[in-house]
């Protein structure tokens, strides 16, 4: 199954769970609304996809991407004609600017220069394999597509492009993008789909700006446990919403809102420092 077919398949993915967690209405709007508008990938998503292809499926690069030719001024009549010829010639391939192509290459070089990342990606494995299973409790069909799964099924690797790959900031990325839910969802899913549970879920985090620093992290047991509980709750919620065809958004009532926990006075009565607030 190719990437487009995977994303078009109606089985529940981790992205589905993210939207359900935000609100069932957001899920309905993205996947069920008859008048929904297809989502265009953001610039960050496009760079992320190109980095994936470059690092994990380099043999697919030429079939999927083409670097935009230099020297075409699309504001002129001649330039427009040249661009039309170029567009016809590339078919369904994605056009990537020279600058972005260079960026992708630098990121790729950084990842493959990192000893642990290079070792892990050098182990026999497959990129972007699709796995599907039926959730026993809800009966819903579910899916996942790990970036890299070793052939012996022991390790799953996920490549993340990020602004800051330091442990502290990557923890925040985990919280913001619910990577813990992804890790648990993928491990559970692969176990159900293949009968073998990978022993480790590894993140390769690489920064998108110089020096393109790279770090490799293993999800710990607590992270996976909480991620699994969250995924279960999201899936149960989705199941109830589907059964009732009821897709609530946020509260219909007026709600009290207060400061987030990190801005409130500490247990000893002192206030958090401005630095803590600004850098959260």
């Amino acid at each position: 199954m190719d990437n487009a077919a995977y994303h078009a398949h109606s089985a529940v993915s981790k992205s589905h769970l993210d939207l359900v967690a935000r609100s069932p209405l957001h899920y309905w709007s993205r996947y069920l609304d008859p008048n929904r508008v297809p989502q265009e990938p953001t610039a960050a998503m496009q760079i992320g996809s190109a980095v994936h292809t470059h690092i994990l499926e380099l043999d697919q690069w030429d079939a999927q991407y083409v670097v935009a030719p230099a020297g075409i001024d699309r504001r002129t009549k001649v330039g427009k004609a040249e661009w039309d010829v170029f567009q016809t010639a590339i078919g369904t391939r994605t056009v990537i600017s020279r600058e972005d192509a260079d960026l992708v290459m630098r990121i790729g070089r950084s990842v493959l220069s990192h000893p642990a990342a290079a070792y892990l990606l050098g182990l026999p494995g497959k990129a972007e394999t699709t796995h599907m299973w039926i959730d026993e409790i809800s009966g819903l069909q579910c899916k996942c597509r790990p970036d890299w799964l070793l052939d012996d099924g022991s390790i799953m690797i996920d490549l993340k492009t990020t602004e800051d790959a330091s442990p502290k900031e990557f923890q925040r990325s985990i919280a913001k993008w619910r990577y813990h839910v992804q890790a648990a969802w993928y491990l559970d899913g692969i176990e159900k789909a293949t009968g073998k549970r990978p022993e480790q879920f590894i993140f390769i985090a690489v920064e998108k700006k110089p020096p393109y620093a790279c770090a490799v992290y293993v999800a710990d047991a607590q992270m996976l446990e909480i991620g699994g509980q969250t995924a279960r709750a999201d899936l149960d919620k989705l199941n109830v919403c589907k059964a009732t065809n009821y897709w609530p958004g946020y509260s219909d009532q007026v709600e009290v809102i207060n400061l987030p926990p990190w801005m409130r006075p500490k247990a000893d009565g002192t206030m958090p420092s401005p630095t803590e607030i600004e850098t959260y």
């Binding site: 070089r109 480790q200 293993v218 509980q229 709750a233 946020y250």
Partner: protein, 214 residues
């Protein structure tokens, strides 16, 4: 005297029809807005849990409020508190109150639960739980395990849970106790990176191509 079980089978299942489901949603919404019920049932997040609790309470023939007070969601699974199971068995009218036969100490500490079926006068003896078993199963070796600090209470709880599942499965609607769910949840992943780092160190260095790949 005829004894009647607390559990009754009703045709009012939450899932018995559209009207029943819509009624249950209204009840769940009202319950979810209460601050007197446990946090996992409160608010928008707890709405779905309230629906589940309503269905279970209906199947057990008990008050939804009582059900919510004793139904815990552990590792995403609904489970009962052991104290509730003991109360259900003792209060159902089908059995004499559970007794616990305890013997030994340390690793040889052992316990089984026993009760008599009032209708048949048959003594119902549950499986014997031992500390050695708790250690082998990994219940007593997990960090923060209550088996380490209060083994005599935990061994009674586990004996009651096993007894309940054998002789009163209908009372428990097949659910485990919260203590069981916590104990049997295995650590599913290894975050030990030492082995991996040894392999990384001994792996040959990969030279990256300096040339432009595009």
């Amino acid at each position: 005297m005829e004894n009647t079980a607390i559990t009754t089978t009703t045709n009012n299942s939450v899932f018995s029809g559209i009207q029943a489901f819509e009624d249950a949603q209204r009840i769940a919404k009202a319950l979810a807005s209460s601050t007197l019920i446990p946090p996992q049932f409160q608010g928008q997040q707890g709405f779905a849990n309230c629906l589940v609790a309503l269905e279970i309470a209906n199947r057990m023939g008990i008050s939804p409020f009582l059900c919510m007070q004793h139904l815990h969601i552990i590792h995403g699974r609904p489970s009962w508190s052991s104290a509730f199971i003991i109360a259900m068995v003792n209060g159902c009218g089908r059995f004499t109150p559970l007794r616990f036969e305890i013997s030994g100490s340390g690793d040889s500490l052992a316990c089984y639960a026993v009760a008599t079926d009032i209708k048949t006068d048959q003594e119902l003896k549950g499986p014997t739980i031992t500390m050695a078993m708790a250690k082998k199963e990994g219940w007593a070796t997990k960090a923060g395990s209550k088996w380490l600090t209060m083994p005599e209470l935990m061994i009674r709880y586990r004996s009651a849970a096993f007894w309940g599942r054998l002789f009163a499965g209908d009372l428990l609607v097949g659910l485990q106790t919260q203590e069981e769910v916590i104990d049997v949840q295995t650590v599913k992943v290894s975050a030990n990176v030492d082995d991996l780092n040894v392999k990384v160190k001994s792996a040959p260095v990969i030279e990256t191509e300096p040339d432009d790949l595009f």
